[in-house]
C-alpha cells in the first residue's frame, strides 16, 4: 500500500494513460502503416498508367464506325484507315469455339468432383490434374497442340487449333469456379429432391446446376476473359490475316493480340501506332466488360446460405 502511495506521484502525467506505447513501438507502428499504404499506392500506379496510356492513345479510332466494320485488307503499315472487324471477329470466334468445347467438360467434371467422386481417390487424381492444368503456361499448351495438330496429324495452322490450346487454359478456370459453386448448394435442396423420388441425375440437372447457375456463368466469363488476351497460342498456331476470315478450319485468321503484334515493330509510324493502341484498347474493353459482367452476375446470383 505504502509503495503504491509512494510511487504515485512519479506516474503523474503521462504514465497513467494506459493506452500509451513507448516511442520505439509507436514509431514502428506508424512506419508499418506508412509502408503498407505505400505498397498499395505503388501497386495502383501501373494500373492507372496502363489504362491511361491505352485509353488516351487508342480511343479516337474506336469512335470511328470503320473500326468496327472494316478489315485491314489492302492497308499497309503506312496508310491510315481500315478497322479491326476481322480481328474482333477472329478473337470472338476462337473464344466461342473454346467455350463450346471447354464448358461442358468443365461443368460435368465439376459435377463429378462434387456429386459423384467426392472423397474418392479417383477424384483426388482428377483434382490434382486440374491443378497441374491451371499451372500449364500458355506456350506449353500451344506447343502441345502444335505437336498433335500439326506435327502428328499434319493439319494446317488454323483458328481451330488455337481454340484447342485455349481449351486447356479455360478448362481449369471454369471447372474450379463451378466446383466451388456446386459445393455451396445446400444439401437440403438435394435431399428434398431425393425425398420426392427424383433421380440423382435429374436432381443435379434441375436443382443443383440451376441453383449454381450464376456462379457457373461467372466462371465461364472469367475463363473467356483469360483466353481472349492470350497471344502465345496465336503466334504459334495460326497466322495473322488482315482479311476477314470467319472460317476457323481454313486459312489464317486475324485476332486482336496478333493485330497488336503485327504492327508493334512499326510504332514509329503514326497510322501503325494508332492501330496498335486502338486494338489494345478494344482488347482491354472486351476483357474488362467480361470481368465486370462476371462480377455483376456473381453479386446478383450468389447462393444465399441459410
Amino acid at each position: 500500500m505504502t509503495a503504491i502511495a509512494e510511487n504515485k506521484p512519479a506516474y503523474d502525467g503521462q504514465a497513467l494513460d494506459l493506452t500509451g506505447k513507448s516511442g520505439a513501438r509507436a514509431f514502428k507502428n506508424t512506419l508499418a502503416t506508412v509502408l503498407i499504404v505505400l505498397a498499395f499506392l505503388v501497386a495502383m500506379i501501373p494500373l492507372v498508367w496502363i489504362l491511361g496510356t491505352v485509353v488516351s492513345k487508342g480511343y479516337h479510332l474506336l469512335l470511328n464506325a470503320d473500326w468496327w466494320s472494316q478489315s485491314q485488307r489492302g492497308i499497309t503499315v503506312r496508310r491510315e484507315g481500315g478497322g479491326a472487324y476481322h480481328a474482333i471477329m477472329g478473337t470472338l470466334i476462337m473464344a466461342l469455339i473454346t467455350a463450346v468445347i471447354a464448358v461442358p467438360i468443365a461443368v460435368l467434371g465439376a459435377v463429378y468432383l462434387v456429386e459423384y467422386g467426392k472423397g474418392t481417390r479417383a477424384a483426388k487424381v482428377v483434382s490434382f490434374m486440374i491443378d497441374i492444368l491451371t499451372g500449364v503456361p500458355s506456350i506449353v499448351a500451344a506447343l502441345f497442340v502444335y505437336a498433335v495438330w500439326i506435327t502428328i496429324f499434319g493439319f494446317n495452322r488454323v483458328g481451330f487449333a488455337v481454340s484447342l490450346s485455349l481449351v486447356l487454359l479455360m478448362l481449369p478456370v471454369v471447372l474450379r469456379s463451378t466446383e466451388e459453386m456446386l459445393k455451396l448448394v445446400p444439401d437440403e435442396l438435394r435431399e428434398a429432391s431425393y425425398a420426392l423420388g427424383v433421380p440423382k441425375w435429374k436432381t443435379i440437372m434441375k436443382v443443383v446446376v440451376p441453383t449454381a447457375f450464376g456462379g457457373i456463368v461467372t466462371g465461364v466469363m472469367l475463363g473467356l476473359a483469360r483466353v481472349m488476351g492470350e497471344t502465345a497460342p496465336l503466334l504459334i498456331l495460326v497466322g495473322y490475316s488482315k482479311n476477314i476470315n470467319l472460317n476457323p478450319f481454313n486459312g489464317f485468321m486475324g485476332a486482336l493480340p496478333t493485330m497488336i503484334n503485327q504492327d508493334r515493330t512499326e510504332l514509329a509510324l503514326q497510322p501503325a501506332a494508332d492501330r496498335v493502341w486502338a486494338a489494345a484498347l478494344t482488347l482491354i474493353l472486351l476483357v474488362l466488360v467480361l470481368n465486370v459482367l462476371a462480377r455483376l452476375v456473381a453479386r446478383f446470383s450468389a447462393i444465399k446460405s441459410k
Binding site: 509502408l35 505498397a39 467438360i105 503456361p137 500458355s138 505437336a147 435431399e191 443435379i204 503466334l235 504459334i236
Partner: protein, 347 residues
Amino acid sequence: MTESGPEATTATAASGKKMELGPVGHLGDRLFSAFARGSGGLVVLIVAFVGIFLLALAIPSLADDKSSFLFSRIWEPGGDQPRFGIAAMFYTTVISSIIAMLIAVPIAIGVALFITYYSPKRLAQPVAYAVDLLAAVPSIIYGLWGIMFFAPILLPVINGLSDALGWIPLFEKPAGDNVGVVFTASVVLAIMILPVVTAISREIFAQTPITHREGALALGATKWEMIRMAVLPYGRSGVVSASMLGLGRALGETVAVLIILSVPNGNDPWNSSIFAGGETFASKIANNAAEFDSPEKTGAYIAAGLVLFVVTFLVNSAARIIVDRSTPGAKRPRRNRRAGTAQGASA
C-alpha cells in the same frame, strides 16, 4: 477447399445411401454419371497426353543433340550438327522470375494487409477489384507498355544499381543504354504476378482467427505488433504458396517477355548480368515459331517447352503441397479430431 474432410465424405455417403431408396440403376442416372465420370477422366487424359506427346516428340531430337542439353548454352537446332543446350534460357527464365518475385511479394503482402486491416471498410472491396483488374490486362499490353513507357523510367534505376553494385557480375552493365533487359522484364513480370499473390494472401490474412487478433490487441499490442504476431505467422504458408503460384506464372509468361527482352546478337559472348538481354524458354519458343519447319527443329523447341512444363509443374506442386500441409493447418487437425470422435461415438 479440395480437402473437404471426413465430415463432408460421410454426408455424401449418407445421401448416396438415401439415393438407393429411389429408382436404382435408372438409365438416365447411369448415363449422366458416366458423362460426369468421363469428363473427370478426360481431364486426367488431357494432362497425361500433354506430357506424353511433348516427350514423344522431344526424344528423337534429344537423341540427335550434339551437345549437352541441360548444361550447354549453345542453341543451334538447324544444320548437320544440331546442338541445343538450354542452360542460357534456363538461367534467364529463373533469374527473371526470381527477381519478379522479390519485387512482387513484399508489395503484394503490403496490399493484402492494406485491404484486410488498414483500408476503410468501404474502400476494401473496390481496392481488391482494382488489383484484380491488373490481372485482367492482357499480357501483350503489359509488354507493349513495358517497353514503350515503363522501360525508359527504369534506365536511371539500372544505371544507379550498376554504378553501385557493378563489381558483381550480376549487376554489371554492358555498354550502351539498352532497356530491353532482364531487369525490365522482371519488373513487368512483378506487376503481372502481383494480383495473384495479393488475392491469395488477402484471403489467408482475412481468415486469421479473431481470437488471435483480439488476444494480441488485448495484451496491448499495437496494430503492427498484432499483425506481426498474429496475422503474419498464421498466413505465412499461404503467402509462400501464393508466391509459388506467382513464380509459376512468371516462369511461363511469354508475350510480355518476348516484347521486352532484346535478343542478344549471335556472336556476342553470353552475359550473366540482369542488365543484359536474353531469352526465356517461353520467349525463345514464341520467337522462333517460324523455325518449326523440320520435325527435328520442332522437337528441339518442344524439348525446351517440356523443361518449362516440368519446372512450372514442380513449382505449382510445391505450392499445392504447402497449402495442403499447412494453410488450413490450424483448422484441419482440429476438424479431423472432431470428426474422429464423432465417428467413434456413432460406432
